[in-house]
Symmetry: C2
Subunit: 237 residues, 2 copies
């Protein structure tokens, strides 16, 4: 094919982390090289000729941060002609939501540092990475209104308050989303996605012990595969 | 940048059309050249160095089919290393939903023919275009459960049955979606997205005249901008 094209293809990874103590965070690397030298950015890099986009993003993420994630979900492709000052680079971005404390961070070659940053206290980001990050947050917020998230982010047994806290951390100060706590709980239970356990947990301080729940993964995947999604909580109207 | 990469970047357009008489269709071109010579495919082609992905897909679509669409929405990027038998091509796909009868079709250079094909009677498609098409249909079906579609597909004044017919054409034989007609109507009215008009339309045959409605675009966009989406009808559970 006699196609003359001078566009490079890259992948970027938006990895969001959650812990009850530190809330929602994003995994960033500090760029060792120009352009945007010393600035923080999403991990990512160029696709090799023989690897799939999914393999490329997993590889780049692991190379630059030490974080190995098998499956990232595609977010969006960014292709403005001037988004990279060097030459034309189109980036296919991916995202994942993980428990940060199970990973050992390790910055290498292209990255001179790596860290988790509180989503509410982010540094200025290189390229259009702030835009990618905002779009990723919007995607997660939108998705969680019709699909439960957080399977892998909470302990095996959790109090309903833990789940709410996770959802509220993701919503942040986004005024468009509201959770009606009672209805949300009722819906998750009636869908069979969370299961009440016989156990309860003593709360710090006084107060009643909190009932514990667990996710019913089978129910969830069974419903998901049959295309059952319901609005779990309404957006603000 | 000393990056050695041999990947070409393309865009593909999934244009879905709807008319009450012929239902849902897809705009396809017949390939003039190898590979997949004489096979039907989605319109598309390579991105120029200085154009955005959106400009590229609009240009390729118009060049190959005569159909000019200002805005197509990004669907997904397809990047399996072997999806093109010639060399590595990554395709960013876009989609749009239009009224087919307002366009004059005109096949040019790369395309030796162009036409609208009933979604239920599609020919075999080149490359992974069948997969792209299925993903696009899924996206539209999923989207329409929480956002009304069809603004541009129905007449200015329409009977509620016209809107239902459109939705049912998109759902097709997908068993995962069901519309509760009465609730759907109530919801659209209570959201202010459709407005009852004083007029009604005489139905073919006997029967009561059908009440006419119009979309309230302002209401819709106002709600959309404030992030208000509600489940318009449930998936089957």
């Amino acid at each position: 094919m006699a196609i003359e094209q001078h566009i490079l293809l890259a992948v970027d990874a938006l990895v969001l982390g959650y812990t009850p103590d530190s809330g929602l965070s994003a995994l960033l690397i500090k760029r060792r090289y120009s352009p945007f030298e010393k600035m923080w950015a999403l991990p990512g890099g160029f696709v090799k000729d023989d690897e799939s986009l999914e393999d490329a993003v997993s590889r780049e993420l692991e190379e630059e941060t030490g974080v190995k994630i098998e499956y990232l979900e595609q977010l969006y492709s960014f292709g403005k002609p001037d988004r990279d000052p060097r030459r034309r680079v189109v980036s296919v971005s991916y995202y994942a939501l993980v428990k940060p404390d199970i990973y050992q961070l390790h910055a290498t070659t292209d990255a001179e540092d790596v860290g988790w940053f509180d989503i509410n206290k982010l540094p200025e980001l290189a390229f259009d990475h702030r835009h990618i990050l905002e779009m990723g947050l919007d995607r997660v917020r939108n998705k969680m209104t019709y699909e439960p998230i957080g399977f892998n982010l909470l302990d095996e047994k959790f109090a309903f308050a833990d789940l709410l806290k996770l959802y509220e951390a993701i919503i942040g100060d986004n005024k468009k989303l509201i959770i009606d706590r009672a209805n949300f709980k009722k819906k998750l239970k009636s869908l069979g996605i969370i299961e009440e356990l016989p156990e309860s947990r003593k709360q710090p301080g006084s107060g009643r012990p909190a009932r514990l729940y667990r996710f019913n993964r089978e129910q969830y995947f069974e419903k998901k595969n049959r295309g059952v999604f319901e609005m779990l909580f309404p957006h603000r109207s």
